[in-house]
């Protein structure tokens, strides 16, 4: 069926789906507010007020990167993890599958929405850091940080997708939070990973958020010094694993 759409039709379809998805999450204060406010609030407290002089004055720049990661993970995990679980249990996903719209539009709109949120959060963080944190980066460093953060949404979308397809609607918010917050902490998003004991630093290698944080910090040479290829490979591998798991879960649901 989907073969019959022209390019323009398809574009309009994806665009409409994205618009309505974006409108939906904006109208869900329980999702939009914490997603936008928490990273900014934490950054103001821990990066600008309390630890200003930490890390030889680099703390505002360092935490701008890590709270950026924290900020972009939230919408990705929740929009996929929680919303898909809910929509799946309410039969909305089944309806979408039955409609003539290609099901990819459903997922792409969610990815684009997560990216829009990532963009808003990152721009707000940049503004705070530049105005109140005296953070000064070269133009290419600002742009690269933004780009890494926007693309960094993808692995967490796939993680969220798998969780959303796997979990019951009632369980999803709790499980996602249980994953999100400890992962953020253990990946050094709140406190620089350098301050952690050695074994925790090593253990962080298992977490996707750690690799994304290191990639983002690499732009400013504030990372712990591993090669960017390691982080990129780890993220790619994790994305592939989550995607495989999500596909399996999706087929199981579709076949039921």
């Amino acid at each position: 069926m989907s073969q019959s759409f022209t390019f323009n039709q398809r574009l309009r379809l994806f665009s409409l789906e994205t618009q309505s998805e974006f409108l939906k999450v904006i109208r869900m204060p329980a999702f939009a507010l914490p997603s936008l406010a928490f990273p900014l609030m934490f950054y103001v407290f821990f990066g600008l007020i309390f630890n200003r002089g930490g890390m030889s004055g680099q703390m505002p720049a360092y935490l701008m990167a890590t709270y950026g990661v924290f900020g972009i993970i939230g919408p990705a995990l929740f929009s996929f993890g929680v919303n898909i679980a809910v929509e799946k249990d309410h039969g909305w996903l089944a309806l979408k599958q039955a409609s003539p719209m290609p099901i990819s539009a459903y997922f792409v709109s969610k990815i684009l929405t997560a990216m829009m949120f990532a963009l808003i959060i990152t721009m707000a963080l940049f503004s705070l850091a530049a105005i109140f944190g005296d953070v000064r980066l070269s133009r290419s460093e600002w742009a690269m940080t933004l780009l890494v953060l926007l693309l960094g949404v993808l692995p967490f979308c796939t993680l969220g997708l798998w969780l959303g397809l796997q979990l019951k609607a009632q369980a999803a918010p709790a499980v996602v939070n249980l994953l999100y917050l400890p992962m953020a902490f253990l990946s050094g998003l709140w406190i620089p990973i350098d301050y952690f004991p050695d074994f925790l630093q090593k253990a962080a290698n298992l977490l996707p958020a750690f690799h994304l944080a290191q990639l983002t910090l690499k732009v400013q040479s504030l990372d712990i010094g591993q090669s960017w290829m390691i982080h990129l490979a780890a993220l790619a591998a994790m994305t592939a694993i989550f995607l495989a798991l999500a596909t399996r879960a999706f087929h199981r649901i579709s076949n039921n």
Binding site: S15, S56, G57, R136, S221
Partner: protein, 600 residues
């Protein structure tokens, strides 16, 4: 097409936003925090020692007081390193720091001091400085604060009230109290054989409990020992480091194995052990021409002091060197530390002796540099110090000669940067009350006695006085420039001293400590002829480390030269002690005739 347009609009807005964000180059004009671009620059034409290895013919990029990647695209001021040797700022891993110690240390290129016992309030005062990259005039401080010792043990004899402990069950509370005072690590004094000394000591169980408590709070525990058996106990108790080596006997294989197995580091502090053994190395440091201009009366006093209990002889000192050599050969991590300001040592200057002593005990000069930089930072977990890789704090020293060839070249300091800012050594600016007389006329050299109308007189000068191989001589000649009589100078410029010079020195003040106030004058004029080429006029001021200099051209005919003081804005014109006319660096044999010198 609407979605594409929306996407393009978003892209344009984001791009616009990125262009609004501040960049470091804009900071020059917009920053209100008092930061200037002075801590951002590119230092080119250098040989770099990054703390572990040498990288010849390279450059470093410093952005806001930190080393950045060289591929940074930013446009930065370029500083020519003139093929000098750049090493990280030195870390003295064993000091006792108070008063002016941190300022003094930085003057000699020591940018971080790891203190092993001081008044914890001094630590609290100076702790915050190390967290930022502001322009500062002193080294950064990390400290054990109050040490852990027994009642009447070593450490209680200095007149500062010191809390003590006697049993293992006091250890946890003791360590907690130190951390509350701000201690960065715990220093423990231990002596198994204290019955032989006039100090008491905590017992091994208490030391062990202190180390365990320190580790529980994620702090290092380092132990002061002065003999091998105590060292063995300390390592067995789990010490992270020993803050001295020992000289009572040769280090046993058992101890070497234990040190290696537990990764215990050792700070041999050969400087203080040399002083203990009456090696009298202080005078040599004072006499070293590359350091002498920085030696203040208090440094001199400290370097010339000795321990009161007499000569322990060369034998024990040889033991200390041997033990250090064996530890090095066994692969034990060694850190350079001086124990300044104990008798015979002083802050800053003694680090240049300590690295030499480490070379004497078998380390290569590069290994000694690593001990004085990277190893110390590594052992104490200071990630931004002791190296010059991207991310490091721009604490660094530019040397004019290669320290890998001769460790003494750590003294050939051209420039010190602290937090990316050039460190200039400030002395009290005291304007002399002596003014010029006779309308500023120095001399027309009418007769052979060369006596000037202002100032003390003329003399030949060259780096020969600093063991260089340049030569110079002066004499009166009858043929002047306009009138009869002039001063003739000739000589050769050698190549042995790092900063060679040869020419004539004119002493304007009554001594090098007391100059003349020239703030009312604007220029110095003279006439000169001689071997054509570029020559230099040097201006000496009270307490200045090195004279300021400005070039001038000499031709075969007499020519008037006027040098405006405004050209030399860094000179303290309130206290000028003398001038020198010297040959350029490129010349070898030279001669010139000087006449009609007037300061207007």
């Amino acid at each position: 097409m609407r979605p594409i347009i929306t996407a393009l609009i978003i892209l344009a807005l984001v791009t616009g936003f990125i262009f609004l964000l501040p960049t470091p180059t804009e900071e020059k004009t917009t920053s209100k925090s008092g930061k200037t671009e002075a801590s951002s620059f590119r230092l080119t034409n250098i040989h770099l020692f990054d703390g572990q290895q040498w990288i010849p013919n390279t450059q470093v990029t410093v952005i806001n007081g930190h080393i950045a990647n060289n591929d940074s695209q930013q446009s930065l001021p370029v500083v020519d390193g003139e093929h000098g040797y750049l090493i990280p700022g030195l870390i003295d891993a064993h000091t006792h720091t108070w008063g002016e110690a941190l300022q003094q240390a930085l003057n000699f290129g020591v940018t971080t001091e790891l203190d092993m016992f001081t008044d914890y309030r001094f630590l609290q005062q100076h702790k915050t400085q190390r967290d930022n990259v502001d322009q500062v005039k002193q080294a950064d401080l990390f400290s054990a604060g109050t040490l852990a010792t027994s009642p009447k043990g070593h450490g209680t004899e200095y007149g500062i009230p010191v809390p003590t402990l006697t049993s293992p069950d006091e250890a946890e509370a003791f360590v907690q109290a130190r951390l509350k005072e701000g201690s960065d690590y715990i220093k423990i004094v231990y002596d198994r054989t204290h019955e032989k000394s006039h100090f008491t000591s905590i017992d091994k169980a208490t030391m062990s409990a202190l180390i365990t408590a320190a580790h529980k709070h994620n702090r290092l525990a380092v132990v002061h020992i002065s003999n091998m058996n105590s060292a063995l106990d300390a390592v067995e108790a789990g010490a992270d480091g020993l803050v001295h080596t020992f000289a009572d006997q040769a280090v046993s294989d058992e101890l070497l194995t234990a040190l290696k197995k537990q990764n215990t580091f050792v700070i041999p502090t050969l400087s203080v052990i040399a002083s203990f053994a009456n090696q009298q190395r202080g005078q040599a440091l004072i006499d070293d021409p590359t350091l002498s201009s920085l030696v203040t009366p208090s440094i001199k006093q400290s370097l010339l002091q000795s321990f009161s209990f007499g000569d322990h002889g060369n034998h024990t000192f040889a033991n200390a060197l041997d033990n250090t050599r064996k530890m090095h050969q066994a692969g034990i991590l060694l850190l350079a530390g001086t124990d300044a300001p104990n008798p015979g040592t002083a802050h800053g200057i003694s680090m240049h002796d300590e690295v030499e002593l480490l070379v004497d005990s078998g380390l290569s000069p590069t290994e000694a540099l690593t001990a004085a930089t990277f190893n110390a930072a590594n052992a104490f977990g200071l990630t931004q110090r002791g190296h010059l890789k991207p991310g490091a704090r721009a604490d660094m020293i530019l040397l004019s000669a290669d320290p890998a060839k001769d460790i003494k070249h750590t003294r050939a300091i051209k420039t010190i940067w602290k937090n990316g800012y050039v460190h200039t050594i400030e002395k009290d600016k005291e304007v002399s009350e002596v003014a010029l007389k006779n309308n500023g006329v120095v001399s027309h050299f009418p007769d052979a006695n060369l006596q000037p109308q202002n100032g003390l007189g003329f003399s030949a000068t060259s780096d020969n006085m600093m063991k260089g191989n340049s030569t110079a001589s002066i004499n009166w000649v009858a043929e002047g420039c306009q009138d009869a009589g002039a001063l003739a100078v000739k000589g050769t410029v050698g190549n042995q001293f790092p900063f060679p010079w040869a020419g004539v020195f004119f002493m304007l003040g009554e001594s090098m400590q007391k100059g003349v106030n020239l703030t009312a004058q604007k220029s110095i004029e003279f006439q000169v002829k001689g071997q054509p080429g570029q020559y230099r006029l040097m201006v000496f001021t009270r307490d200045s480390q090195r004279p300021a200099e400005v070039g001038f051209e000499v031709s075969a005919q007499c020519q008037p030269i006027q040098i405006d003081f405004a050209q030399l804005d860094a000179v303290d014109w309130g206290n000028v002690t003398g001038f020198a006319w010297v040959a350029g660096k490129q010349q070898s044999d030279f001669h010139f005739t000087l006449d009609n010198i007037v300061i207007n």
